[in-house]
């Protein structure tokens, strides 16, 4: 069983890497977005290897399904065929990207280099049981109630914001 999961992990890991490299490298925005779908999907497979079935399914439905479809939609509707048009506009974003990437790199190096202690297991449940919808739901409603509610308010704000933006130039009589 060990070898099977190792083979699966290598395969999925390779897919994740192909996906992320393809996302950055491809010239065509649509191909780029499709590589990102591949990346998310393979990541869902890795969650499945960790026996987190619920998270894996959420990964597929939320990222590979809904969000990426909206991405593709936007790209197709805006007709962003050449990336040249985008190049000059977003210098600030590029700087910000470098900053965030640097922070992430430092974090990864910190964890790898200093080998800091990972938090100890504080539960008696097996990995499969942790991944079950029932246990995740119970934790969300008891121990993590506050963050859970905050996130739901954040999402509600996003929905309201989208409606406000969509209705800004809208009058029913025209």
């Amino acid at each position: 069983m060990e070898t099977v999961s190792f083979i699966l992990f290598s395969f999925l890991g390779a897919l994740v890497m192909v996906g992320s490299i393809g996302t950055v490298w491809s010239r065509n925005p649509v191909t780029s977005a499709l590589f990102l779908v591949l990346n998310f999907f393979a990541l869902g497979g890795i969650y499945l290897l960790l026996e987190a079935q619920f998270i894996a399914v959420v990964q597929v439905i939320v990222y590979a399904g809904a969000i990426m479809v909206l991405f593709l939609f936007t790209i197709m509707l805006l007709n962003l065929d050449d990336e040249q048009a985008l190049k000059e506009k977003f210098d600030l974003q590029k700087g910000f990207g470098i900053l965030l990437g640097g922070v992430l790199l430092v974090e990864v190096l910190y964890i790898l280099g200093l080998k800091i202690n990972l938090p100890q297991k504080s539960t008696t449940l097996t990995p499969v049981e942790i991944g079950e919808a029932k246990n995740i739901g119970r934790e969300l409603i008891t121990n993590f109630l506050f963050p859970f509610e905050i996130v739901s308010i954040l999402l509600l704000l996003a929905v309201v914001g989208a409606i406000v933006l969509a209705k800004k130039n809208f009058s029913p009589n025209t």
Partner: protein, 375 residues
């Protein structure tokens, strides 16, 4: 022997002895090896695949042609073989022989991959369909949720087809189709949640088991709560939309878009898209029967000494019942297709966001209260 009047309330309050799903056929397959090669692992997915092929040939294509012929006062295919039974075989032979055309202006990788992804998305959901108490591809503890999520991958495939074809009709069809599929996922998921709440599990086999009992049809979830039937109807409507079936077939609307996102496809690629449509029709029908109509449980009740339920339960009977229920809803989908005219795009979105979603949310809350305090 009790009088009948006493017998019925007694039996209703008695806790049903749940049938245990052992998945023993799957386990037998898993341990099957020929010369050290684990053949069984490949046989498990092969069984639903063969089933889809046979079902699409006879219930899907042939059945649809006969149903439409009946509804339009025609005869339908009757030349090839007895009653036209060989017609679909002839069609397949024709499709296989066709030249595999890829338009010059098409984005070749996307054009070729698109139909595959659509079919894989529809077929992957068969992994969690309980074909019997002893046969289910994988009894995941998130079964229903998995089925809902893997189907959303189909939308990516549809976009790939539409974009890759480099054709205005195709792109319009794909954009319409994806907008429809993504929107209708919301009422469908809420309706599914109502069923899941009543069973208290996301696992397909556990949902079915929670509806078994000696009174047969009376134990089905649809009769366990005053709003379950509304959830069932909402799921059925949303399923029609997700399969791009009429009256929600605006993605392929022949009179406006030639044939939508698969305008440029011919031969086996077209057959693949077609097969995926029939596969997802049966898949949604089975999910509906599992959630609300007892899955592989027999609908017949035990009446005193006439133990109809016991006589018609068991692994083989289970397969018979669930396939029968699935086919029933597939036929209803065809009936709907040949009865109702097509929606307009704005009517479609109106129905989803202003009718189905609010009703689904209301009955969701009602069902939750009912489950907590009444049942």
């Amino acid at each position: 022997m009790k009088p009948l009047a006493l017998l019925v309330p007694d039996a209703l309050t008695a806790t049903a002895v749940p049938v245990q799903a052992e998945n023993s056929w799957v386990k037998a397959f898993e341990s099957l090896e020929v010369f050290g090669v684990p053949v069984g692992i490949f046989a498990i997915p092969a069984i639903p695949l063969v089933f889809i092929a046979l079902y699409a040939l006879y219930v899907g294509v042939y059945g649809e042609r006969k149903v439409s012929a009946f509804m339009q006062d025609r005869i339908g295919p009757n030349e090839t073989g007895k009653w036209g039974l060989l017609q679909t075989i002839a069609d397949i032979l024709k499709l296989i022989q066709k030249e595999d055309i890829v338009p010059i202006a098409a984005d070749k990788p996307l054009f070729v991959l698109g139909p595959l992804i659509i079919f894989v998305g529809a077929f992957a959901a068969y992994a969690v369909l309980p074909f019997s108490s002893e046969f289910i591809g994988a009894d995941l503890n998130v079964g229903v949720f998995y089925a809902v999520s893997i189907v959303s991958v189909e939308a990516v495939g549809i976009l790939m087809c539409g974009w890759g074809s480099n054709n205005k009709w195709s792109l319009f069809g794909a954009v319409r189709s994806v907008a429809q599929v993504v929107s209708y996922e919301i009422p469908a998921s809420i309706a599914i949640l109502v069923g899941v709440m009543m069973a208290g599990s996301l696992s397909m086999q556990k949902i079915v088991m929670s509806q078994s009992g000696e009174l047969g049809i009376l134990h089905y979830a649809v009769f366990q709560s005053p709003v379950a039937w509304i959830a069932m109807i909402i799921y059925f409507i949303a399923a029609l939309a997700e399969c791009n079936r009429a009256p929600f077939d605006i993605p392929e609307a022949e009179s406006e878009l030639v044939s939508g996102y698969f305008t440029e496809y011919g031969g086996m690629k077209f057959a693949m898209i077609f097969l995926a449509e029939y596969a997802s029709m049966f898949m949604t029908s089975v999910i509906l029967s599992v959630l609300f109509l007892g899955g592989w449980n027999s609908p017949l009740p035990n009446i005193g000494g006439v133990a109809l339920n016991d006589w018609t339960s068991g692994p083989v009977w289970g397969a018979f019942w669930i396939i029968l229920k699935g086919f029933f809803f597939v036929i209803v989908m065809m009936w709907v297709r040949w009865t109702f005219p097509r929606f307009r795009v704005d009517q479609l979105m109106y129905l989803c966001w202003k009718v189905l979603t609010p009703i689904a949310l209301l009955i969701f809350v009602f069902a939750a209260v009912w489950e907590l305090y009444v049942r």
